[in-house]
């Protein structure tokens, strides 16, 4: 079970990353003589209403989703660690202020922050990923604070302190490396949510360039053909669900 899961996860990740540099066909090449082609050896998943290769578009969309995930994870890790550790080091009102701010951010729905950011800055994987990462920073700050507090009281940290390891050395050598795995597991547990949230954003198409094949945007585009070519809307949805399910399963098992 673990083996198959890891293999599937690696396979999906590989496909998403390959999508950045190579696709079987030009994802934007319009071929009106090949509209709505069914899956065939040449076009594995068929073609869409403009004769574009669906698999190639899915692969680019996968790369864009991977970029979102990378941004969300990086901001969650860095932001959560910085704010959480700072709050743990600064006891008193300054630490409390950071924690209150973190609590406040739990309330605001990630999707609304991302919606606002997309409305203001336009939608692309980097802005969407940064907005969702920033919106999700609250819980990670609280978690990092709790972890750092516990670690600072541990005998080995006390010992290092007694030996004269101060400030940043103490934090970087002894505290931060010990909290990263836990923090990463929590961020991973929310990665599936980030995939579906980005799909919802792209579905709304806020300021998006419609020629960019995001999975959510493809759902929006292909929903019109639900009557005659329902297979088209199956692929992007399946891609989102598979990636989200794999992420959830991988991080649930750890």
């Amino acid at each position: 079970m673990r083996r198959t899961l890891s293999t599937l996860a690696l396979l999906l990740l590989g496909l998403m990353l390959i999508g950045a540099i190579w696709q079987p066909h030009d994802p934007d090449a319009v071929n009106l003589s090949m509209r709505f082609a069914l899956p065939s050896p040449d076009h594995w998943l068929g073609t869409d209403q403009l004769g574009r290769d669906v698999l190639s578009r899915l692969m680019i969309g996968g790369w864009r989703t991977a970029v979102v995930l990378g941004c969300v994870a990086a901001i969650g890790m860095i932001g959560g660690t910085v704010f959480g550790v700072t709050a743990a080091m600064l006891e008193g009102w300054r630490g409390a202020l950071i924690l209150r701010a973190g609590e406040m951010f739990i309330v605001v729905p990630t999707l609304v922050v991302a919606l606002t950011a997309a409305a203001l800055f336009g939608l692309n994987p980097v802005t969407a990923g940064m907005a969702m990462g920033l919106a999700g920073i609250g819980p990670y700050t609280l978690l990092a604070h709790a972890l750092a507090r516990r670690l600072l009281a541990e005998p080995f940290v006390q010992a290092a302190r007694a030996l004269g390891v101060g400030g940043s050395g103490l934090l970087l050598r002894h505290v931060v490396p010990n909290m990263t795995p836990v923090l990463f597991a929590h961020i991973g547990a929310n990665a599936g949510l980030a995939v579906t949230a980005y799909a919802a954003l792209a579905f709304l198409g806020l300021g998006a360039d419609p020629s960019k094949p995001d999975w959510g945007a493809m759902l929006f585009e292909y929903r019109m053909f639900i009557f005659d070519h329902p297979l088209l809307m199956v692929w992007p949805g399946l891609a989102i669900a598979m990636v989200a399910a794999t992420l959830n399963a991988v991080f649930d098992a750890t």
Binding site: A118, A200, I226, G237, I240, A241, A244
Partner: protein, 305 residues
């Protein structure tokens, strides 16, 4: 300070901070609202109009003063005019908010009502068929985006069975999104409720209750329900935030004229008053829900005076 007062204070402070952040980000945008308004409302693009609008909106004054003036107007119900429709934003929102709220709140209200019996039955027989089915449902809804599930439902119910007409505005347009929201929350809340019920079965007092002659169901209900309910209500906050966030996509999918759809239509016109109002409405809505949840938890909680 009493607890309700503390919760009210925290809610109001949070709303103020969120409004300040949103106002700051929107004012920092490079595009000039006066230029947008002149284009959107077809005003004469001369110096008098520009100066008039700038003075009216206080764009020549310092940031905090501008924020204060905006806040005072906002509280009095003057939310400005929409750049896109030219109508007062407040009126536009009042017209659309009931639909969005009905959708999200009915879905959210339905979920706990069904989650308690389902979670109870699942905990009654761990690894029984109800337990496995609810587990499968939870895995399913957390991976499958609600927009895609909605599309598939439209296909099955609308195209195959012909029970409804896809993308038309009728009763089915509201039932399906409510069902989608309820399904997601139901699956998640059932699992939380079941997990905490089962946690109680491992406590010594649970064994004592069984030894006294209570049935498993009786002991779970008498000694586990309140504990599991507490956990479920805490988890409800995250679900509420998810539900409110996903209303916009569901409104667009099912063609419902709610505030989310209004926002999406307004974005292309850089309709900042609408954006600011949307952020405020959603934040206020969720903060009030959260305050309600906090009160519920305090009332249910063990540290009750």
């Amino acid at each position: 300070m009493t607890l309700p007062a503390r919760i009210t204070l925290r809610t109001v402070t949070s709303l103020l901070v969120i409004s300040l952040l949103a106002f700051a980000v929107i004012s920092a945008m490079p595009s000039d609202p006066v230029a947008i308004a002149i284009r959107a409302w077809n005003l004469p693009p001369d110096g008098a109009t520009v100066a008039g609008l700038r003075a009216q909106w206080g764009l020549d004054r310092p940031f905090l003063e501008r924020y204060g003036a905006w806040l005072a107007r906002f509280v009095r119900g003057d939310w400005g005019l929409s750049f896109r429709t030219g109508e007062p934003v407040l009126a536009e929102f009042l017209q659309r908010l009931p639909l969005t709220m009905t959708m999200a709140l009915s879905g959210l209200a339905l979920a706990p009502l069904l989650a308690v019996p389902l979670g109870f039955l699942a905990a009654l027989r761990p690894s029984g068929w109800i337990d496995r089915a609810t587990r499968g449902l939870a895995v399913f809804v957390q991976a499958v985006p609600s927009i895609w599930l909605g599309l598939i439902l439209l296909y099955v119910l609308g195209v195959q069975l012909r029970w409804i007409r896809p993308f038309t505005r009728d009763w089915s347009g509201l039932i399906l999104p409510v069902a989608l929201i309820a399904l997601h929350s139901l699956a998640v809340l059932t699992r939380v409720y079941r997990r905490d019920l089962l946690e109680v079965t491992r406590q010594p007092f649970f064994r004592t209750a069984l030894a006294k002659g209570l049935t498993r169901a009786g002991a779970l209900w008498r000694h586990g329900h309140a504990h599991a309910l507490y956990a479920m209500i805490s988890a409800f906050r995250a679900e509420a935030s998810w539900a409110v966030g996903s209303t916009a996509a569901l409104e667009v999918l099912f063609g419902l004229p709610g505030i989310g759809q209004f926002l999406v239509e307004s974005i292309a016109a850089r309709d900042y008053p609408v954006l600011q109002a949307y952020v405020m409405v959603v934040a206020a809505w969720l903060l009030v829900l959260n305050a309600g949840v906090a009160l519920c938890l305090a009332w249910l909680g063990p540290s009750r005076p």
